[in-house]
């Protein structure tokens, strides 16, 4: 079973991740009454990019060229920390939730540094906004993970996933607060409306897309894959920690697939129903999420589990 979990973790993470944004895009198109692209569109894009030549804005240093590799490497490691259906193979990397936060930060640093290297205003505008969001998103992520860690009293993701199984957690308000807070985390990390608009082609409104503007070819493919893998990481985590699951390995795997699909549908629905919010108002939303998480913690500490 663990071997299968390992296979899904690596191959699924690498190969299935691009399916998630594709799925969201195609569901969104259906909801909006368009035919839209096939869910496999991201794969075609990646294949196309993989064959293209690279671009090298002048003057850049090795920082610009190294950034996509570093971003992708940090994302792969983050992927290896996330258990699948409650199982995690031993990669000697541990399974700590807060290490995951650090790895995502490393990817953010590399991308922001590459924006400075190109000196492009649009890239820097985007990463400045991204980092501003992170100031509010990182506490939110830590608090959401803290709430998920309460039942297990451990930040080990495997223990957290096990403790969230069954119906017990659902009787506690802390679980609901944690789920809502994590939903906001999903919106930020995947760069979806109302925080960011993944479909924009207008440089002035870009947040996550901005730093990618200068890249081409395999560099861009690595970055696009990393963005898709971030979808995978937060959606799988969301399904494992906050959505109903339980039973044996196969049952959990089924729950996981259903959970991730449901979350994709949720993202598509939010994107259809919600317009993008003013950039300066997004931090307020995230800070509200933090307060909600603190309220959840208070309810837990008053009531116990």
């Amino acid at each position: 079973m663990t071997a299968l979990a390992a296979a899904i973790q690596v191959l699924g993470g690498l190969a299935l991740a691009p399916l998630l944004p594709g799925l969201v895009q195609s569901m969104k198109a259906r909801l909006q009454g368009r035919r839209g692209p096939s869910p496999l569109q991201p794969y075609r894009e990646l294949r196309r990019l993989w064959g293209k030549s690279l671009a090298d804005p002048q003057p850049t240093t090795v920082v610009y060229r190294l950034a996509p590799c570093l971003v992708a490497a940090a994302t792969v490691l983050a992927l290896l920390l996330v258990p699948i259906a409650g199982r995690a193979p031993d990669w000697s990397l541990g399974n700590d939730a807060l290490v995951l936060v650090g790895l995502l930060a490393l990817a953010r640093f590399a991308l922001a540094a590459s924006s400075w290297d190109t000196g492009s205003g649009f890239a820097l505008m985007g990463s400045g906004r991204d980092l501003t969001f992170a100031v509010f998103a990182e506490p939110l992520l830590v608090l959401a993970l803290l709430l998920a860690a309460l039942p297990a009293a451990s930040t080990d993701l495997v223990a957290m996933a096990a403790a969230a199984a069954g119906s017990g957690p659902w009787t506690e308000p802390v679980h609901w607060c944690g789920a809502l807070a994590f939903a906001l985390v999903i919106l930020v990390e995947t760069g979806r409306q109302p925080i960011d608009n993944p479909d924009t082609h207008l440089e002035l409104t870009m947040v996550h897309e901005g730093p990618l503007l200068e890249y081409a070819g395999r560099d861009l493919a690595l970055l696009e894959w990393s963005a898709a893998a971030r979808h995978w990481i937060v959606l799988v985590l969301g399904a494992e920690l906050f959505l109903p699951h339980g039973g044996g390995f196969w049952a959990q795997l089924g729950w996981l697939a259903a959970g991730v699909a449901a979350l994709c549908a949720g993202l598509a629905l939010t994107e259809t129903a919600q317009a993008k919010m003013r950039i300066l108002r997004a931090p307020g939303l995230l800070a509200g999420g933090c307060l909600l998480a603190l309220a959840g913690l208070a309810s837990f500490l008053i009531g116990g589990l």
């Binding site: 003057p59 541990g94 640093f109 492009s120 992170a134 990182e138």
Partner: protein
Amino acid sequence: MSAVDLLAAAGGALLLAGTILPLLRLPAPPALALQAVGAGLLGAVGALVLFGAAPVGAGFRDGLHPALGIDGLSGFFLAAIALVALPSLLYARDYLAGAAHERELAALGGLFIVSLCGVVAARDPSLFLAFWELMTLAPAAAILLRRHDAAVRHAVFVYLAVTHLGGAGVWICVLALAHYGALSDPGALAAQGSGAQALVLVAALIGFGTKAGLAPLHSWLPRAHPVAPSHVSALMSGVMVKVALYGLIRVLFEWAAPAPLWVGLVVLAVGLLSALGGVLYALLQHDLKRLLAFSSIENVGIAALGLGASILFASEGEATWAAVAFAAALLHTLNHAVFKALLFLAAGSFERAVGSLDLDRLGGLLRRMPWTGAAFALGAMAIAGLPPLNGFASEWLTLQALVHLAFGPALGLGLAGALAAAGLAATAALALFCFVKAVGLVLLGEPRRPEVAAAVEPPAAMRAAPVLLGGCCVALGLVPGLIVPALMELAPGGGRIATEPALVVPGTGSLPSLWLGVGIVGLTALLWRLRGGRRAAPVPAWACGQRIEPALRWSSDAFSKPLRLVLEGVLRPRREVEVVRAGGLVRSVRYRGEIPHLFDTALYGPARRRALAGARVARRIQSGSVRGYAAYLLALLLAVLVAVRVGVIG
């Protein structure tokens, strides 16, 4: 005498010799070498004692009989001092070469190191306070010897005034402890009741807190650190504020132990305020050294978070986590000493090469100064708390402690822990923001001034020092688990974890930094191969078809603008836009903006005004006539006699 005792004596003697000899016309380089060997020996002794050798020298005593000694905690701090002092002295070799007052500066630097080592090795109140004052004065003299224009004199005045006002707390605390006999017998203070304990604790928090740069008493730090010579800045930011933390740790965890719950909450709150406030203002600075100074406040705050959490855990009876939080604070202290010294030394090299540290006038230095630049980038990544470097290990451990504090069961402590954990996460995100900006503006992009384009690497010693410290950042980051168990043993309540390279703490998913490091480097290299030697088309950066001209370059303010707008209510920026029109045409637009330091405008400004108003009132009784003063004396004497007669005193 054991071999370790001899080593310690030899180290102290060499350090003293290296300090005194330059005044007797010994040239600076051999003197610096002597100091380095002495500091290195003391550091080695410290490390030996920390990892299990028997304590050296005397134990603490309450009388005024000078005594020196090294126990585990002192050993840790001596090792940290040596780790910063060795590269700083190496750096000073070329940095001071040919400078005015070279020998005097070398002597003052040595004196500073002597006083730093002295404070942590002092075993009686007289030596402790003497070294403490020397530690304040030596860098002030070094600053004034190098530069003495009005701005620098003012900075030094503020530094001396604030640290001396706050320093009164240290005197009160140490003398009170000696009076109660609590230095030699840690149980003695508790027997005096909670009033005496509260007096000592408040005095310690104010006294040591001021020197450590904890908000809101940090106002001197961002003024004094940037104007010092770079190797002294490195020692000030890297070690001096840590030595103040050493004093605080001694009081909180030994002399006044067990610290009551409220002290834990106060330390936690002060740490959170320092961490968030420090990094927020660091982000808004335009001068690299001022940015680094503000970030020192942040890092001291993070260490204070660990100490506060440790007190709270101890009051809950959780010995293991109390020890983990304590070790996290010490580990962060060590880590910060290493990377902050690196950043200050590199900043000194940039200043030497370019002549300015204005962030908006640098750029592109990675290409021109590859060694210093790469070390600076590494230090910035470490201080931003990125895995697998050392900053991440200690911030992870601190965050784990706070998260476990939030697990409860007490409601108040749980919420405090969660708030502090969220604050630390925000601090880490802000630090990333701040240091990616610093790296971008200093190292990347195109040079923003012609003199930057002509920058060259400094001489070998100045190049080697930051690179060595960069190596320490990597080493400490990869194997934190080898140090943390030894640090946990210094915690009063005991509690231990296994000694192995990875940090394996029960209740966490563990931090195997070594494998994370291997994974990151290996995967990056693999992807680099995959990306391959494909032809890269040279293109200009995209700016909607325009050329990116110097005026279009992104500045320090532009990058942080979104955050400034979001936090406008807190930061209260002032801006003025002046449009000059002539004949219906806009001739020029002048823009001026600044972000006042909130602590200055809201706290220090009013306090200063009140003090001056009070002084004006007091001046009325200053007649200047001798007879008047004699009358005051007589009146005071009579008042005392009356008081004695009535029985109020005596």
